[in-house]
């Protein structure tokens, strides 16, 4: 069946060539070009043969791939599920339907992860436009698998205006907060847990439209109540006998007032490559009751960025000096109001809350380089130390660590960081979404 068809087609080609060969031989690419071996092509929608049989994967290739297909099948299913989810939710996100007014009340679920074993969830209520057009009220609450209970309120008015207002309030009851003792030489083996219940509120008058060039006048209230912990072992009382820690199991309440500010001059606020950024915080804490301590709480931070022959390669430096100083008649600071290596002050390569004392020094150098879009890889070296006073800091006692990770500049106030750092106490990995450094 095939042979005559081939013969006919080829014969057609040959005849066509003969017909067209009488003139000058056209050259490929010329305006008069007609391929010499092509017969009348015909219409694909007419009846006629196909050029090939349906194709199938080669058998040997199927045999080769089969075990891998089976092995990776669960991952394929996950990928397909994710694809469907992206399609469904992505559509809702990208094409939200008729545009609604900017204001309005929105309730949504929120999930919080405090670690591999601590996942919390709860509602989040956002009311854009409350009480006025450019303001936003956010209320949220969560309850975690470790029985941590949190509630937060934030209200911003005129956040991007030269003069604005911000109110923050929060409640946090954490039954397994870590404590290792006070000082720079505490042992990791002394890890213990206690419950800390904190209630706070702070109002700020914002002077300056940009959070990176802004002075904030603040006033607020803070209550801390350390108690017997649960959801972990050993308890603080088992490691540090009663009476050995200042203000153990004793709640304190403070009124706070002061000023905080940021001044930055950066080429790119999300991913700076040239510039400096200075931060300062000062709060005076006055005890609500006679038994509550009076103290000053302060923080100085400097950041500097310099490109390495190109903006995509950056040396970033960060230095922080923070502390609390008792004032008035107060001589002893509550253990839970000392400066701690946690949050933005956490020492890389060490667990959170690993060190605490009246003063803290932290220095870090990073080399960052562009990997993909705004995702930067980074290599870091860090020195951190806590001490009871400035004269007690020594280079030899500093806690060092080195490591690497990834950074994604989310906004000019926050960055997502995935870090792994090595210290004398081992390897620690962290995933954070906080400071913009």
């Amino acid at each position: 069946m095939h042979t005559p068809r081939v013969a006919l087609a080829v014969l057609g080609c040959s005849l066509l060539f003969h017909a067209g060969a009488s003139g000058a031989d056209p050259r490929f690419g010329d305006s008069s070009w007609v391929a010499p071996n092509v017969a009348d092509i015909g219409d694909p929608s007419a009846d006629g043969p196909r050029v090939a049989l349906p194709d199938h994967e080669r058998r040997w290739e199927t045999a080769l791939r089969l075990p891998f297909r089976v092995a990776f099948f669960p991952m394929r299913l996950v990928a397909r599920g994710t694809e469907v989810a992206v399609g469904f939710y992505g559509d809702h996100f990208m094409n939200p339907g008729p545009k609604r007014a900017a204001g309005g009340l929105k309730v949504a679920p929120q999930i919080e992860a405090g670690g591999p074993t601590e996942i919390g969830g709860g509602p989040s209520i956002t009311w854009a436009g409350f009480p006025s057009g450019d303001s936003k009220l956010v209320l949220s609450g969560s309850w975690s698998t470790t029985d941590r209970r949190r509630a937060r309120l934030s209200e911003r008015i005129g956040a991007r205006r030269p003069v604005g207002f911000r109110l923050l309030a929060g409640y946090d009851s954490r039954p397994n907060l870590r404590f290792y003792g006070i000082g720079n030489e505490t042992s990791a083996a002394d890890r213990s847990i206690f419950l800390l219940e904190s209630t706070s509120g702070e109002a700020s008058l914002l002077l300056g439209a940009s959070p990176l060039r802004q002075l904030r006048l603040v006033g607020g209230y803070s209550a801390l109540s350390p108690r017997r912990g649960y959801r972990g072992q050993p308890l603080l009382e088992d490691v540090f006998p009663p009476g050995t820690l200042p203000y153990d199991h004793q709640a304190t309440q403070e009124f706070l007032y002061g000023a905080t500010g940021d001044f930055a001059s950066l080429d790119d606020e999300r991913d700076p490559s040239v510039g400096v950024h200075g931060r300062g915080e000062f709060r005076r804490a006055a005890g609500v009751r006679d038994a509550d301590p009076d103290f000053n709480q302060w923080l100085l931070e400097g950041r500097a960025y310099a490109p390495v022959f190109a903006k995509r390669r950056v040396i970033a430096l960060r230095g922080v000096y923070a502390g609390v100083d008792p004032v008035g008649g107060t001589t002893t600071m509550p253990f839970d109001r000392l400066v701690q290596s946690d949050g933005d002050l956490r020492f890389a390569g060490y667990p959170s809350h690993r060190f605490q004392d009246r003063q803290l020094l932290l220095g870090r150098i990073e080399y960052r380089w562009e990997v993909w879009g705004r995702v930067r890889a980074l290599a870091l070296y860090e020195l951190g130390e806590v001490a009871p006073q400035a004269s007690a800091f020594t280079a030899r006692a500093a806690r060092w660590s080195y490591g690497g990770g990834l950074r994604y500049g989310l906004t000019n106030e926050a960055a997502i960081r995935l870090e792994v750092a090595e210290s004398v106490e081992g390897l620690e990995g962290t995933f954070t979404m906080r400071s913009s450094f």
């Binding site: 081939v6 060539f17 490929f28 010329d30 092509i41 929608s45 009846d47 349906p54 080669r58 993909w372």
Partner: protein
């Protein structure tokens, strides 16, 4: 050892097969595992599954009447996620693929040839592709027209819907003659950027052989637009007010005279079925029987795209329609829908510097940057792409490397491309003359004379680079015919002026009962006299290479017909 332990590999294999058969074939992700297209429709459908094939045909009859397939359109974002994230990751961990890669390094032929290739190493006409410029030069005037004669959407326009999906801003209109168009605005500050890119790219793609919609660059004023009453009132669930329209128009480019710059795309005839997918055949399309990544026109599109800088070739930029012919039967037609992200353009403005040089999620470049601590210098950083011409954006030809062009999302067909497929694509690109390129650029009607001059020059330079690159890998010897007992062929590189006259080495091997020892002939012209060779065999295999060139030779098969010879097979690579 217990017997069941000894037989574990057999059990594993059996279990593998059982699982394979138990799950839906498409789920496993291999294009070749698609079920026979339209198997579920076979009882009602005309017989299009005949095994009649003709390797020498110039028309692959895939437009035969079938019932209308069900609409099926991959979810845009889900599919983007799959193309940009899942498939690259999947490919990174594709162990058999790595094994085949290693085997290839030792000379094994593991790549699969394209399926829809005829005996002359060409793609027959089909509902996907029509042989045009490289077979018969398209006259300049005809080329500029594109798929249809030039006609514009008549004003005034009535806006019937807002544009949904995609990055560009626009709306659907009904023109004064009742024709439906999609109007897409150029990005602010860049009149004619996407419009120009779309017009030039679609004109060249059409002349190359692909199906494209009828697009026209348009300028309009606010007064030319009226809102459909249903749309304005929102009675059908969708609402667009005058204020919304005013706001929408501010997101588009305007000319110095205040008119708006946009491209109008006439709605395709027939029923829109949705985008095709490279991962599967279209369900219900009885004519669709070659895995899409194994279609040569989709593989070779890589080379054409590299020429045009058409980096956004995701599935969503293609569209299938069902064209009815008779008795509710018809066939599926396949279009390249949106080539606007070509040259220096993107829907949101000038393209990003890395577009065309690295993928959206490019693990290879990520790894290179990571390992070198960011000191690697990517080609797109070396390229001077800032043209300073608002209607061109970022484009260049100096650093352009035809073998290193990278689409935004990985393309399965490009991944499967062989040298033969690339040669075919390069042949199409090389077939365009300087005059044809200039005519295609004129279709954009650029206001800025610098834009025309720059684009014509860049396209000529890129065309020549493509021809040199791919014609250097495979001998560009083509269009073999037997005339007067001579085998004649064209040296395409010589024809288009890339090289001067050169010599060829021919190795002739006869087949059949009267086979003789191979003969070697040296030619100074692309003409091989067959009479002098005294071939007694009914069939001969001829290998033609360029003297002193490292390019792979061309294989030609001649079959005796009566007293003469006929070319029965040509293969490049």
């Amino acid at each position: 050892m217990r017997p069941w332990i000894r037989s574990r590999p057999v059990l594993t294999l059996a279990l593998s097969w059982a699982l394979l058969l138990a799950v839906p074939a498409g789920v496993l992700g291999s294009p070749a595992e698609n079920p026979a297209p339209g198997a579920e429709f076979s009882s009602a459908a005309p017989d299009t599954s005949d095994s009649e094939t003709d390797a020498a045909t110039w028309a692959d009859h895939d437009g035969r009447p079938i019932p209308q397939p069900p609409d099926w359109d991959p979810n845009f974002l889900g599919h983007q996620f799959r193309e940009a994230i899942v498939e690259p990751l999947s490919h990174a961990f594709d162990i058999p693929d790595k094994m085949l890669f290693v085997a290839r390094a030792f000379g094994a032929q593991t790549r699969r040839d394209a399926v829809n290739v005829n005996a002359f190493d060409e793609v027959p006409n089909s509902t996907w592709f029509t042989n045009r410029n490289h077979i018969r030069a398209v006259p300049v005037a005809e080329l500029r027209m594109g798929p249809d004669s030039t006609y514009l959407p008549a004003k005034p326009w009535t806006i019937t819907h807002a544009k949904h999906g995609g990055a560009s801003v626009g709306f659907q209109i009904k023109d004064a003659h009742g024709k439906k168009w999609l109007v897409k605005l150029d990005p602010p500050g860049h009149p004619q950027l996407c419009t120009g890119a779309d017009m030039v790219a679609r004109t060249l793609l059409h002349a190359a052989g692909y199906n494209v919609p009828h697009n026209e660059p348009v300028r309009f004023e606010r007064g030319d637009l009226t809102l459909n009453q249903d749309l304005e009132r929102g009675t059908k669930g969708e609402r667009l007010t005058d204020a919304d329209l005013d706001s929408l128009l501010t997101k588009g480019a305007v000319f110095p005279d205040g008119s708006h710059s946009a491209i109008a795309s006439l709605f395709l005839s027939g029923h829109v079925l949705g985008s095709p997918s490279l991962f599967r055949l279209r369900p219900g399309d009885l004519n669709d029987r070659y895995s899409h990544p194994n279609r040569r026109e989709l593989r070779g599109l890589y080379v054409v795209s590299s020429w045009l800088g058409f980096w956004d070739t995701k599935d969503a930029d293609f569209l299938d329609t069902f064209v009815s012919t008779r008795d509710s039967l018809g066939h599926v037609a396949h279009y390249i829908l949106d080539p606007g992200s070509s040259f220096g353009a993107d829907a949101l403005g000038p393209k990003m510097l890395q577009d065309g040089f690295e993928g959206f999620v490019d693990f290879g470049w990520m790894a290179r940057r990571f390992i070198t601590l960011g000191f690697v210098i990517e080609p797109w950083r070396r390229a001077r792409q800032e043209t300073g011409i608002p209607s061109i954006g970022r484009f260049e030809s100096a650093v352009f490397d035809p073998g290193e062009f990278v689409p935004g999302v990985p393309d399965l067909a490009y991944h499967e491309m062989t040298d033969g497929d690339a040669y075919w694509g390069a042949k199409i690109v090389a077939s365009f003359s300087d005059g044809q390129i200039a005519a295609a650029v004129d279709a954009a009607q650029y206001d800025d004379p610098r834009a025309r001059e720059f684009l014509v020059r860049s396209l000529i330079e890129r065309r020549d680079k493509i021809a040199r690159y791919w014609f250097g890998r495979l001998a560009p010897l083509d269009f073999f015919v037997v005339q007067d007992q001579e085998l004649r062929f064209h040296d395409l590189a010589q024809d288009i002026g890339l090289t001067s006259a050169r010599a060829y080495d021919v190795e002739i091997e006869s087949a059949g009962s009267r086979a003789q020892t191979p003969k070697h002939v040296h030619l100074s012209d692309p003409v091989l006299p067959l009479q002098d060779l005294e071939i007694g065999a009914p069939r001969v295999s001829i290998q033609v290479s360029i003297t002193g060139s490292g390019a792979k030779p061309v294989r030609v098969e001649l079959t005796r017909r009566g007293t003469g010879w006929l070319v029965t097979l040509v293969r490049h690579g």
